[in-house]
């Protein structure tokens, strides 16, 4: 009897947890602050802090005789980036990153388009598995596997020989710059492996952006007289562009910074990542390593600024 009469309309909550949830309900901003503080501290102090420390290092220089760091602000280290042997490294890396990004986008778009517009149910699951599966295995294992695939005695050579296409491979390898004595020690090999390893990072953002394009926009374009090529150029591509840009940021910056793939597969010429590794490690030249690291950051900043000016994010 008393239990029934006790239930009032505005039931009072008792106990500390009840009072606490009431307090958060009245002051939602405090709850938000509590939830965001740890990640903001992480991002602000640890990530941005170390980035700033790096930036600072790049303005120091190294004493050539003693090998000690000279803590005076100077642009001398940056000037070193411009000497031909260092500048070649930057040029080579940027060119490779640009080509890898372009090729990845061209290969990824049809796959992402299929997944976004046609794959349903089981096929969608297979798509996600197919794209994500390579990410589950070790990076190093994948690269060494590719080294075997691309090696002179590897499966690719064997396969091309079976198809009587060895002449094609040899013709390609005899080309200057992109060629070499085998694919696994040529720029072509580096390029192929970069594309393979970064492909999921290009497919998934494009697929997400295509997924958000309503099907009736495609129909509207056709209805207004746009043939499939025009529909792609004027509707589909502009609306997928934020996804392509997002994907290209991944592939471009990952290629700019990677030092393992060019180390294992490719010619012995250095990429930025390898230069950073060598300078901060064996050479002990932290300022030059830092200056090399700033290069991709500046390039990415420029890239994003240009993409924004071109209206790449207007459809966001």
């Amino acid at each position: 009897m008393s239990i029934v009469t006790d239930t009032s309309i505005l039931a009072g909550r008792t106990g500390p947890s009840g009072r606490l949830s009431d307090f958060f309900w009245r002051n939602p901003r405090i709850l938000l602050l509590l939830m965001l503080t740890p990640p903001l501290l992480w991002l602000g102090v640890i990530y941005l802090g170390s980035l700033f420390a790096l930036l600072l290092q790049s303005f120091f220089s190294i004493d050539d005789f003693s090998g000690l760091i000279n803590y005076e602000f100077t642009l001398a280290t940056y000037k070193q980036l411009l000497i031909p042997s260092n500048f070649d490294i930057i040029l080579r890396t940027v060119l490779m990153a640009a080509l890898v990004t372009l090729a990845s986008a061209v290969i990824a778009f049809p796959i992402a388009y299929y997944a976004a517009r046609y794959a349903k149910g089981k096929w969608k699951v297979i798509f996600y598995l197919g794209v994500m599966l390579p990410l589950w295995s070790s990076y190093l294992v994948k690269i060494y596997a590719w080294k075997l695939i691309l090696a002179k005695e590897g499966i690719l050579t064997w396969f091309l020989a079976k198809l009587n296409l060895l002449w094609l491979l040899e013709a390609w390898l005899s080309l200057p710059v992109v060629g070499g004595s085998s694919l696994s020690i040529s720029y072509t090999g580096t390029f192929i492996v970069f594309i393979y390893v970064w492909m999921p990072f290009m497919i998934l953002p494009i697929q997400a952006s295509l997924e958000r394009v309503p099907g009736n926009l495609i129909e509207a374009s056709a209805d207004l007289g746009g043939n499939p090529a025009q529909t792609f150029r004027f509707v589909l591509f502009p609306l997928a562009l934020p996804g392509i840009i997002a994907g290209s940021i991944f592939t471009f910056s990952l290629t700019l910074g990677d030092y393992i793939i060019p180390q294992i597969i490719g010619s012995s010429r250095l990429f930025i990542g390898q230069a950073v590794y060598a300078q901060q490690g064996t050479a002990g030249n932290i300022p030059l390593a830092a200056a090399f690291t700033v290069v991709p950051i500046v390039i990415m900043g420029l890239y994003l600024w240009m993409a924004k000016r071109q209206g790449a994010f207007d459809a966001l």
Partner: protein, 331 residues
């Protein structure tokens, strides 16, 4: 001239017969409505005309030309989509000029035509905005301008007023009607709102289960429904069971009787019947009274000036014999 011709057209999706052996002929310059509940096949018919769907059987002609296998971008037919489908990354002016751009019309010329089209739908000077900055009613007008700027021979409208509020919808109905009259373009209009179809269309096709139940002028469809479905769907006519119709002296058929054809009391030349009031509701201009008699439930629309009988009262109601329509098919 026949603008759109369907001969035994079917569109099946697996076992689902979305459109099942439909015959229809829409005349040039006609305002044609396809009315029906959702899933009745009316939208699929529209998509067959636009070219987004291909028929699984039958033959379609648009202005005498075979339409099967012709892609949407080669048809001189334009669509106003249900949710407008404006391109979010283009300005309003670019949206309206899109059709002319893909056809290769020069920039100055197409922008001028787009401005004119915007003026026609009463949105002059809105060209620089983006679709996201407009209200639903304004987007609706842009969608209309974007279709009409191409001077289509047939304009297809897929529930274009569905997302608008009542006031705006009534206003747009009048505007669409006068626009159609002044342009002389064939309009094919899909709707599930019978009031919209009745007030705007020259002819109505009532759809159900992928088939046309009845095709006729609004007056025919409203006053003389041929099937129980049409009687029920178009303006909720009373469908009288055969036994009751026989008692009234019209033979053993299903029959339809419109609620507003029924009056309180008897009079010369009228058919009377009596029943017990089970519900009465006030609708503003009229009172809707439901009466139960001999197992039939009959709704009557009585003018607001007449005193409303109380629930449970026995009342005498009557109607003119010509307002009762027997239906051949007892479906």
């Amino acid at each position: 001239m026949t603008a759109v011709l369907f001969q035994q057209v079917s569109r099946h999706f697996g076992a689902v017969r979305a459109v099942d052996s439909v015959d229809l002929a829409i005349a040039e310059g006609e305002f044609f409505a396809m009315l029906g509940p959702s899933g009745s096949g009316k939208t699929t018919c529209l998509r067959l005309m636009a070219g987004f769907e291909q028929p699984t059987g039958g033959h379609i002609e648009i202005f005498g030309e075979t339409a099967e296998g012709v892609p949407p971008y080669r048809r001189n037919v334009n669509t106003v989509f249900q949710d407008y489908a404006l391109f979010p990354h283009l300005s309003i002016l670019e949206n309206v000029a899109y059709g002319l751009m893909v056809k290769g019309v020069g920039k100055a010329e197409r922008l001028k035509a787009a401005e004119e089209a915007l003026a026609m739908v009463k949105l002059p000077g809105y060209g620089a905005r983006r679709p996201g900055q407009l209200s639903g009613g304004q987007r609706q007008r842009v969608a209309l301008a974007r279709a009409l700027v191409n001077r289509p021979r047939v304009l297809l409208l897929d529930e274009p007023l569905g997302a608008l509020d009542l006031k705006l919808r009534e206003q747009m109905q009048e505007e669409l009607k006068s626009l159609q009259k002044s342009l002389g373009i064939t309009f094919v209009f899909v709707t599930h709102d019978q009031g919209e179809a009745l007030s705007m269309a020259d002819r109505i096709a009532v759809f159900s289960d992928g088939k046309i139940q009845q095709l006729g002028t609004p007056e025919e469809v409203y006053k003389r429904p041929q099937t129980r479905f049409v009687a029920d769907f178009v303006g909720s006519s009373n469908v009288l069971p055969p036994d009751f119709v026989e008692q009234l002296g019209f033979g053993k058929h299903y029959a339809s009787l419109r609620p507003e054809a029924i009056g309180l009391g008897d009079g010369p030349g009228r058919k009377p019947f009596s029943g017990r009031v089970t519900a009465a509701s006030f609708l503003g201009a009229a009172n809707r009274v439901t009466v139960e008699t001999n197992g039939a439930r009959i709704a009557a629309m009585l003018p607001a000036s007449v005193a409303v009988p109380a629930q449970g009262d026995m009342v005498t109601l009557s109607f003119l014999p010509q307002d009762l329509h027997t239906m051949d098919g007892a479906q």
